[in-house]
Amino acid sequence: MKTFGGPAILLDRSDINTDEIIPAKYLTEITKTAMKPHLLEDLLLDGRPFDINSPAMQQARVVITRANFGCGSSREHAVWAFEVNDINIVIAESFARIFRQNMFNCGILAIELPAADIEQLFKMHGELTIQVDLDKTEMTASSNDHAQAPLTCSFQLNPFDRDLVAAGGWLAYADKKF
């Protein structure tokens, strides 16, 4: 199974939709890699455009965000835009159904945590690095600020979703099974 984790970027907003993650004008592309420079291009945070070229964004391997992440259009391009930027985990209070399913279908992780845990993550000082232990279904956030204690949260991983991750996605799973 893939290993999951790395530096995190925090997106402090609920209801981030897939048009913001990858605008429709890029849906004319026929390769996943074409999405790479445009991830989160139309995202507004506090009503202001998000800086997609910030160092924190460039090195991010994990996204931490609020509720109903990935709502709106079914475009899997949103998941691919994360994937081709080496972001293989999104941690949120909740996901829109299609986005969550697209993540697991690609063999990568959409982790739901209770609102209180998400709030704790947002309150942590310093730059966060996330490590996920799929066997224990636990994730640990550690900070580069040594005064900040690490935080470990457990999460639920549906056995079917775990099988999809292990298989490398839904196509590989379904091809074997059906």
Partner: protein, 428 residues
Amino acid sequence: MGKTIASKIFDAHLRDTPTPGNMILNIDVVMCHEITTPIAIMDLMEKGMDRVFDPTKIKAVIDHVTPAKDSKTATQGKIMRDWAKRHQIKDFFDIGANGVCHALFPEKGFIRPGYTVIMGDSHTCTHGAFGAFAAGVGTTDLEVGILKGVCSFRAPETMRITLTGKLTSGVTAKDVILAVIKKLTVNGATDRVIEFVGPVVDAMTMAARMTLCNMAVEAGATSGLCLPDRVTAEYLWPFIKDQYPSIEAAVQDFSKWHSDPDAEYVETLTIDVSTLVPQVTFNFKPDQVKDIGEMEGTPVDQIYIGSCTNGRIEDLRDAAEILRGRTLADGVRGVVTPATPAIYSQALEEGIIKIFMDAGFCVLNPTCGACLGMSSGVLAAGEVCASTTNRNFNGRMGKGGMVHLMSPYSAAAAAVTGTITDPRKFLS
């Protein structure tokens, strides 16, 4: 314990249950368009898996950007065209015969009560209007659907929304669904199916029911559903007349898909629509909805009438009722795209196209176009559009633009005045 329509459809299509909460369903109709399908086709080709599970169950269309606007969209069309030919997919709709998928496929009679339907398009929930379980999916789900004819879903939790009372003049299914989304919020129905019932739904045409179900996904729902009845049977009659001796027999047969009286719902809501007024969105989320009076006077630059939500003949008739003998306000531009060739043709016959043209509208061919900011009426930064579409997300119709979602009546009223306007003042 009785069953909901969604549970009955799931039971009838169950292929596997990897965990108690996850169900793999056999799919009756896999619908494909040129935005989300080409990457699936290319991936299958790369993996040496370029097959289709059943060409008669695959319906394909080029609708999002048509005619192609550039080399990239031309390539997407070509990938679809070549694939349809290679696999003998007969129900493939290319330029001249193409239209917005969620208006075109129902018109062709492809959706029947009790069916399972998927498409790489979130507004696939539209087809729930026929008493089908229809859900939007991503490209990987679509790919597996094309290859194996299956798709995975979580066990359907259903919320029932009963619409009571009577819609007043100038208030439509669009206003109802905007009010519902406002009440539920954008994730109030996530992972749920919404079953729309009650006298208001019973009295709705299939077009109105499709508008209602179309936007269920804006509240997060997996699908919206209406129970199939006489209205459904009459709409489908040209396609089913060889299967049933009479419409009554079809209605009787469809009733097997009705939810049982003792079916279990996770939530039930009753909304009286009698006092509902035209609704309009503000800001960037479809649950940010106000009574039109509160938005009255907001200036607009463009009017857009069309889409899978409101591009049907009934919608064009509503708009034409207000536009007849009137023109666009100074400085306002109007774009209308009848959702299918049949709708376009019908609108020509009824003189509706002339009304739009005389009012100063640009009449486009059927396409999804500017609804998602891909072509044919994209907004510039700072511009405002009064639109009959389904999403007002930031950048949706063009970077920096603002979209106010509303009914065709309200969009037509805004066309005439140049500002958001209660359409009822133009209706007798």
